[in-house]
């Protein structure tokens, strides 16, 4: 059932409107930040209004304007999109609190720019979640790249500029060089760019063309961090902690994988994927290699943020591998892994920022014994790492459950093995950090004597998201209902 309604459009646009207000309130920081919270709450309320309808099986659609014949700037809300939007907007609130705690005491004068770019980024992430066709998605995808550039280069020093350059070169080269032509070829072949259950291609489309297009899309949306187009992710870690956390754990990278889920289910179609072994094979191989390699690299990193970045690259490939399995539970696992990994990774990034603020420690080898000085931060870190590894009682367990189920459903036992190896690697690079922080003797006793928990404005958001890791475990069934609605539209159409 489709129902035309303008709410999706307002949900997308509201934080952009907030961005305008934010940049006007440059001199009144309290009002400026109040606007953010107000926008986030309105956005959440509007999202909640859509929930009952979507769970009922409705698809809310809205076309703003026709951009090309047959292709408009249109929105369509389904379960997976709503879930993704919900996660991004919810996590926006703790991150804003954290940013206030981090940036205000430093008298950082680029705060206004920071908050307004942040709001635009949230707008475009939700825009991608609600896109009804490839063109709309591409537009929001590009806006996201551009609006996050000032965030990556926030510090405006040489390192930041270098990171920012890498960020834009990787993202724009791939999207203009691969995704755009792929999109145009799809339009030229089929005359449509709409996401539809069963895909847009005719039956007689050659397998070679499909495979080439799939590879172009996989690498074209480089925000998904598939190797060898992943180097921007560690490079962008020069950004302040809140940026890394929200954008590089939630909005930016998840937009990448979400786009790929959308394209694989809505443009290619699950049936077509399942019936074209060459297609799924290539997706699985690309994702599988990235998965293992990234986990191994993460193991060797001493810089905490770099380790987190490589861990992100590996976890994103879980999602793509899940789609590549082309079975219902594989796709369900992929769609669920987006929110599950988001809460876990955001906690870890916030903690990394807090550790640096409290102790000045960037490298893992410096973190021996800091757990006794900043216990709350390290407990949050522990919960976050459990969620990313995928151990109960945290959300990561649920999504991995579905992913592993998916490998068996589609008879890809090797993928099952890969998932298990990678989970072990995850445990190997995360658990020692917490262990050493609490139980190892500090190498230099006097160094962290004066260290104490950072300001409450930073601790509370971390604890909130850490609790979130547990909550998503207990409410995973509700989340599955959203995914089920998505599967009903896209995976079970024929």
């Amino acid at each position: 059932m489709e129902e035309a309604q303008a709410t999706p459009f307002w949900i997308v646009i509201i934080s952009s409107m907030a961005a305008v207000l934010i940049s006007l309130c440059r001199r009144a920081p309290n009002i400026r930040e109040a606007i953010i919270f107000l926008a986030a709450i309105i956005k959440l309320a509007l999202l909640l209004m859509l929930v009952p309808g979507v769970l009922d099986g409705k698809l809310y659609t809205f076309t703003l304007i026709n951009l090309l014949p047959n292709v408009g700037l249109s929105f369509k809300v389904d379960g997976a999109g709503l879930l993704f939007a919900f996660v991004s907007v919810t996590l926006w609130i703790p991150v804003t609190i954290y940013s206030i705690g981090l940036l205000r005491p430093k008298n950082d004068l680029s705060q206004t720019r920071f908050y307004s770019c942040f709001s635009i980024a949230i707008s475009s992430a939700v825009g991608v979640a609600f896109s009804a066709n490839l063109l709309t998605m591409f537009i929001f995808y590009e806006i996201l790249s551009l609006s996050t550039y000032p965030l990556v280069t926030h510090n405006q020093d040489d390192e930041a500029i270098k990171g920012g350059r890498k960020y834009l070169i990787y993202l724009l080269t791939t999207s203009v060089g691969l995704a755009l032509p792929a999109m145009i070829i799809v339009y030229q072949q089929t005359g449509s760019l709409d996401f539809m259950g069963g895909g847009v291609f005719k039956d007689q489309t050659s397998n070679t063309l499909l495979t080439v297009l799939a590879v172009m899309f996989l690498y074209g949306f480089a925000k998904a961090g598939l190797m060898p187009f992943h180097a921007w992710l560690p490079g962008a870690m020069v950004a302040p902690a809140p940026v890394s956390s929200l954008l590089h754990a939630v909005a930016v990278v998840k937009v990448g994988v979400f786009s790929i889920i959308r394209i694989m289910t809505g443009i290619f179609g699950v049936d077509k994927l399942a019936n074209t072994p060459s297609l799924t094979m290539i997706i699985c191989i690309i994702a599988g290699i990235t998965l293992i390699t990234a986990s191994l690299i993460a193991l060797s990193q001493d810089n905490l943020k770099a380790r987190l970045a490589y861990s992100t690259i590996g976890q994103l490939s879980y999602i793509i591998l899940g789609v590549g399995l082309a079975s219902e539970s594989g796709i369900a696992g992929a769609a669920l892994h987006i929110p599950m990994h988001a809460v876990g990774k955001i906690t870890l990034f916030l903690c990394a920022g807090a550790i640096y603020e409290a102790c000045g420690a960037k490298y893992i080898s410096q973190m021996n014994g800091i757990g006794r000085k900043i216990p709350l931060t390290m407990i949050a870190f522990f919960l976050g790492s459990l969620c990313v590894i995928g151990l109960p009682p945290t959300g990561g367990f649920i999504s991995k459950w579905y992913l592993l189920n998916g490998t068996l459903d589609s008879n890809q036992q090797w993928a099952f093995v890969i998932f298990l190896i990678s989970s072990l690697l995850n445990a190997a690079y995360f658990l020692p950090i917490t262990y050493k922080a609490f139980f190892a003797a500090p190498s230099d006793e006097s160094k962290y004597n004066k260290a104490s928990e950072p300001s409450m404005l930073m601790v509370i958001p971390m604890l909130l998201t850490a609790t979130g890791c547990l909550l998503v475990f207990f409410f995973s069934n509700t989340m599955y209902q959203f995914v089920e609605q998505f599967l009903n539209v896209y995976a079970k159409s024929n």
Partner: protein, 504 residues
């Protein structure tokens, strides 16, 4: 009155030019308002005209100059003005941009060319007359006349810049004259065979009875090559970068967006109306050559822009590459390709206009546009800088600006025709422009650490004057507006302007 609307478009700036030149003898200050009102009338008439076309059934408006109408068996004898969707759209764009440029240039002319304003604005108006004439006329010889009017006034406008501009203008003169000669020669060939110069008559004669005539074919080649020289198509682009770089700000801002685009229009008109798409498709050698040259033009323009350090030179090489877009799109000779080419005429006119206006603003305040001396530009001229970034984004083809949609159609056309080198050239040029944008952002925005931060010296804000800023902003925002209304533009105007081309 309504009947005479088409001629007003050309007549108003022509009279403006003459009056401005005459009154400047005793009241030099009057020349600018006279020219401005001439352009305003022209703009208004073009708006009325496009609405008339939209409301008319046939979508074509004819106007016989001096009443020399249809003389039965001789066909149409006098000069005929024909306005349909294609040139109606381009007329509107030309009049709007020239009006905005006139407003934009008053301040910079007063400063750069103090004491010479009177003839400058007369020439300015004369150039606009020429460009509008090329667009509106329905007669290929008349087109040549207007081409020369535009060319002669632009030589003078460029030479106003002094110093190297004399040489640049001279180079342009040589190349422009050669182009015009070739064009005229081509017209001669066609006239010998057909006995008519009227585009409508020709469009009935050539595709039907003279398909195989060698004379007509040679005429076709000569006309096309002549038009290429006029539009600075590779390898005849050498005159353009210097001419537009060393010209005064105002001349550059008027010439860069309009002069080359109007020549592209002339080429498309010759291709699709005088000859026909079938005719074009039956000369595959020229088609292959044109497409190959387009790809090379795009790449050469882009790579040369990468090596330049002067923002104006960069912009000039952009024009060279954008010409490749349009010529290539037109010569793909399929539906999306031609749509993309015509759409890109409008889009690129707006983009180039915005770019040169922004450069003019920077030039007005800082006196130079060397790339590496632009550090901290964002803090000095924030609005101008944002306009520059939006314009560059449009040139790259970031959605939802117009540059994205023209590229979309062009690539679609190239994919349909299987011309993959053209696709590659388009994408590479996008990426090179992206590199230049980042360079500008890094220098203008990031190189100077936030001046408001403690310890850094603050850069005083020094924005361009309001009479320059407002036209710049209007054009810049139109880039986004054009992108958003692509569908309207394509289905309501461009699709109706083009002949039906069956998909393969």
């Amino acid at each position: 009155m309504i009947k005479h609307l088409p001629i007003f478009i050309v007549l108003a700036p022509l009279l403006g030019a003459v009056l401005a030149a005459l009154t400047s003898w005793y009241r030099p200050k009057l020349s600018f308002p006279i020219v401005l009102s001439g352009l305003f009338i022209s703009c208004l008439s073009s708006f009325c005209l496009i609405f008339n076309i939209l409301n008319s059934e046939s979508g074509v408006i004819h106007y016989q100059l001096g009443g020399w109408g249809d003389k039965g068996e001789y066909g149409i004898v006098g000069i005929q003005i024909t306005v349909d969707y294609l040139n109606g759209l381009i007329l509107t764009a030309v009049t709007i941009i020239s009006l905005l440029t006139a407003i934009f240039s008053s301040q910079s002319v007063n400063r750069e060319l103090a004491g010479q304003q009177r003839y400058f604005f007369a020439l300015f108006s004369l150039l606009v007359t020429g460009l509008l004439g090329i667009t509106i006329t329905g007669d290929i010889f008349n087109l040549y006349v207007f081409m020369e009017i535009a060319a002669l006034s632009s030589y003078a406008l460029i030479a106003y810049g002094k110093g190297r501009s004399y040489m640049a203008s001279f180079n342009y003169l040589i190349m422009g004259t050669m182009g015009a000669c070739l064009y005229l020669l081509g017209v001669g060939f066609v006239f010998v065979k057909t006995g008519t110069l009227n585009i409508e008559n020709l469009s009935l004669l050539i595709p039907q009875t003279l398909q195989t005539s060698q004379t007509v074919f040679v005429g076709f080649v000569l006309i096309i090559v002549g038009a290429w020289a006029k539009m600075a198509f590779f390898p005849m682009h050498g005159w353009l970068p210097n001419a537009y770089t060393y010209a005064p700000t105002a001349s550059g801002a008027l010439l860069a967006p309009l002069a080359t685009k109007v020549s592209v229009y002339a080429m498309i008109r010759i291709m699709i109306t005088v000859y026909s798409i079938d005719y074009v498709l039956k000369s595959p050698n020229i088609q292959t050559a044109a497409l190959l040259l387009s790809s090379i033009a795009i790449l050469v323009g882009s790579f040369f822009s990468l090596t330049q350090t002067n923002l104006r030179k960069i912009a000039c090489y952009f024009i060279v590459s954008e010409i490749g877009y349009m010529v290539g799109g037109a010569w793909l000779a399929n539906d999306p390709g031609l749509k993309g080419a015509v759409y890109h005429i409008i889009a690129d006119a707006a983009m180039t206009s915005a770019l040169f206006m922004v450069i003019g603003c920077i030039l007005f305040r800082t006196g130079q546009v060397e790339l590496k001396k632009l550090d901290g530009l964002f803090y000095k001229m924030p609005i101008t800088f944002i306009a520059l970034v939006i314009t560059m984004a449009a040139l790259i083809g970031v959605p939802p600006t117009c540059g994205f949609f023209s590229k979309f159609y062009l690539i679609q056309g190239a994919a349909q025709a299987g011309t993959w080198h053209f696709v590659g050239a388009l994408l590479i040029s996008s990426l090179i422009k992206a590199v230049i944008l980042f360079r500008i952002i890094e220098i203008g925005y990031n190189k100077v650490p936030n001046p408001a931060k403690e310890g850094n010296k603050t850069i005083p804000r020094d924005e361009a004057p309001i009479s320059m800023l407002i036209p710049t902003l209007i054009v810049t925002l139109s880039l986004i507006a054009l992108g958003i209304f692509t569908d309207t533009l394509i289905t309501d105007f461009i699709a109706k302007a083009l002949p039906e081309i069956p998909a393969p």
